[in-house]
């Protein structure tokens, strides 16, 4: 992800300013204001004027829990209070540590210096040991031989090495080492070539954040704006200003000739749960190795004033032996903000004009051309 590769320096500088502005009041807040039991039980699901469950607002999935269950938690799906407290400490320590030390002098040294300064400091682990709740082992199911071959061909075409589950864009931004990401080599030490702009990751090209949707928790700006009208739900992702406009009128999916970076979404209410069915993904992107065959079903259910329970089931029989499901909370930004603070800190989403300030992509390519020409040597980062 771009935090290690210094993509989009201009955009990131803007983000840094916003993070600083946004983070100050949050840092003083330990957590959501405690609610009394009476207040909690008095909560009723709010409705829009036309009677739909009201999901509107700005929500964040700033969760540090990894997508897949770490080996140390094998056989354990839910953390005890003590383990959760320890996991919170570990997450904080990981985020704030000096990341430069892994390979002093290596090209990754520069990328790894992209440290806590950049990050959303309010992310925390949840009680689950993995975002994946099905299969029960908390791991992505095995890939089919066809899926493996397809992914290998795609990775090879971009000069990348590593495994699809290792390509954890948007997943491990809260503190895995580059080595743990599974990809190696290349100018950034993460297996990414810089022969062409197409070699670079989607987020560095300002096309998608991480691998698009489902949008996994990442290092910063994990924000979503939901706006509802009778026949449409809009879910706007702060990163790359991607807005998903989701019809609720029962219309069929687009023609299979139309393939999208964000797919084609159709929504419906199943009692009080918003179910979003997404197909028509383009082969230009993939999510953990699933290309245009990916079928995504998301379920959003508001469980209290501050929380939407988000579930995403991903199905692609050409890629995995069975479907898999992840679950995490979306937290209302208002609830983790001091509403009595300065009016300038009212939670809101800001414009992420990524492409417009993307000096990083040109810098990466220009840097590699300079290295190709013998200038600087491999130790020189792509500044």
């Amino acid at each position: 992800m771009s935090r290690r590769t210094l993509a989009s320096v201009g955009a990131l500088a803007a983000v840094a300013v916003l993070l600083l502005l946004a983070a100050v009041p949050v840092a003083g807040q330990s957590a959501a204001k405690p609610k009394t039991a009476a207040a909690a039980s008095a909560w009723t699901l709010p409705r829009t004027p036309d009677g739909q469950p009201d999901l509107q607002g700005i929500w964040a999935n700033k969760v540090t829990t990894p997508l897949e269950r770490p080996a140390k938690y094998a056989g354990k799906a839910i953390l005890t209070d003590e383990e959760l407290a320890q996991a919170e400490k570990d997450a904080a320590a990981t985020r704030f540590r000096d990341n430069r030390s892994a390979k002093p002098g290596a090209v990754t040294d520069v990328g790894r210096a992209y440290d806590a300064h950049w990050f959303d400091r309010t992310g925390k682990p949840i009680r689950q040991t993995s975002l994946i709740v099905d299969p029960p082992d908390g791991r992505i199911p095995p890939m089919t031989p066809q899926g493996k071959a397809r992914y290998a061909a795609w990775a090879e075409s971009l000069g990348r090495t590593g495994s699809p589950t290792g390509v954890t864009e948007g997943n491990s931004a809260f503190g895995l080492d580059a080595e743990e990401d599974g990809t190696v080599g290349g100018i950034d030490g993460r297996g990414t070539r810089a022969d062409n702009p197409e070699d670079r990751r989607f987020s560095e090209r300002c096309l998608l954040w991480g691998e698009g949707i489902p949008r996994l928790p990442g290092g910063y700006n994990n924000n979503f704006r939901i706006v509802q009208a009778p026949d449409y739900v809009v879910i706007e992702l702060e990163m790359i200003h991607d807005a998903r406009v989701i019809p609720l009128d029962g219309r069929p999916h687009l023609s299979p000739s139309i393939r999208n970076w964000l797919g084609d979404s159709r929504g419906r209410w199943e009692t009080d749960t918003l179910v979003i069915d997404t197909t028509n993904f383009t082969d230009k992107r993939n999510f953990k190795g699933s290309f245009q065959g990916m079928h995504l079903v998301e379920r959003l259910r508001r469980v209290n004033a501050d929380t939407i329970e988000y579930r995403a089931t991903i199905e692609d029989p050409t890629t995995w032996t069975k479907p898999w499901t992840m679950m995490f909370p979306l937290t209302n930004l208002q609830s983790i903000h001091d509403t009595e603070a300065d009016v300038a800190t009212v939670p809101q989403m800001f414009e992420y004009a990524c492409h417009e300030g993307n000096y990083g992509l040109a810098g990466q390519l220009r840097g590699q051309r300079a290295v190709d020409a013998g200038a600087g040597g491999a130790k020189t980062g792509p500044r």
């Binding site: 062409n196 090209r205 790359i240 200003h241 970076w261 414009e351 004009a353 390519l365």
Partner: protein, 313 residues
């Protein structure tokens, strides 16, 4: 065309002296008699997929047809320049009526040279060419649809071009702490009209591809009014004391996309401009030579492409 243009000027005029006359004119009378359908919470319902059908994106002012976006002098006036030559008739810019009240953009004297230079270099300088966010008001009249989704406290506008988005806050959210391409929008209802105050702009967007520009002092006041089952009237008052001597106003109808399955589609043009913006940084350049047989009488068109890297300070 001249006669109909003068008529449209009268129609958009708000001068008190012509109100009585305008009230007799067909469009104004129609606007006043139409009552917009309501949302569940009683607001005028602006939901839908809308599109401008005009040439405002080419040029806000009245303009005759032009041969191309980039031209070079010819014996009887400009001819298409090399980079757009192969586009032929498809590369021409159609004539259009003015959408500007009074058909004048009141540039300060020192801003006129910038506008002129922008116009002459629009192929290389128009931010739209690079798939940059189009800004407001230009997003409204790009030749692409946009969608309004009207929530309780927030009205979303999603634009097909570049996947641009904006949230219009009905609950008076304070302006963004940094300048923005699409502006910061607070909205309110004045009768049946949605009025949107837009500010916090960068100075990077243009108002059309003819080089009409603004500074970071730009303030736009937009007005959206239903004038029929399938029409909106759009007005935008543009104020920028660094560039213009006074506020000025554009207006146009917006049309509902009527296809029963109308849908905003994905146009992530960032991908499409990578070759233009970064092609010179490829390990192996792709675009170096092109030949196209244009058949009789044109013969074969041959381009040899060379690129010079930018000078980085």
């Amino acid at each position: 065309m001249g006669a109909s243009f003068r008529l449209s000027m009268v129609e958009v005029s708000v001068a008190a002296a012509v109100v009585a006359f305008s009230a007799l004119a067909r469009p104004t009378a129609g606007q006043q008699s139409y009552t917009a359908p309501r949302t569940a919470d009683g607001r005028p319902n602006l939901n839908g997929i809308w599109q401008a059908v005009n040439t405002a994106n080419d040029d806000l002012l009245a303009h005759a047809a032009r041969p191309a976006l980039a031209v070079t002098p010819g014996p009887l006036g400009p001819v298409p320049a090399a980079p757009v030559l192969a586009l032929g008739a498809e590369g021409g810019i159609p004539a259009g009526l003015s959408v500007v009240e009074g058909d004048t953009i009141p540039y300060k004297p020192e801003a006129i040279a910038t506008k002129k230079a922008n116009f002459e270099n629009s192929l290389t300088r128009d931010p739209i060419i690079r798939c940059y966010l189009p800004g407001i008001p230009r997003a409204t009249y790009m030749p692409h649809p946009f969608q309004i989704v009207q929530g309780t406290n927030t009205i979303m506008m999603m634009y097909e071009f570049a996947g641009a988005t904006r949230a219009i806050h009905l609950d008076k959210v304070p302006s963004a702490p940094a300048d923005t391409w699409m502006g910061h929008s607070n909205g309110r209802w004045e009768g049946d009209t949605l009025v949107v105050d837009v500010g916090s702009f960068t100075d990077q967007t243009w108002l059309d591809r003819s080089g009409d520009f603004h500074s970071d002092a730009l303030q736009v006041v937009e007005r959206y009014t239903r004038t029929g089952p399938d029409h909106l009237r759009y007005e935008a008052t543009i104020t920028d004391p660094k560039v213009f001597t006074r506020s000025w106003k554009i207006s146009m109808p917006l049309y509902r996309r009527m296809e029963p399955n109308a849908q905003l589609l994905e146009y992530k043009c960032v991908e499409f401009v990578e070759e233009l913006m970064y092609g010179h940084l490829r390990k192996q350049p792709i675009n170096q030579h092109w030949e196209g047989d244009l058949v009789i009488p044109a013969g074969t068109l041959i381009f040899d492409l060379k690129r010079r890297p930018p000078v980085i300070q």
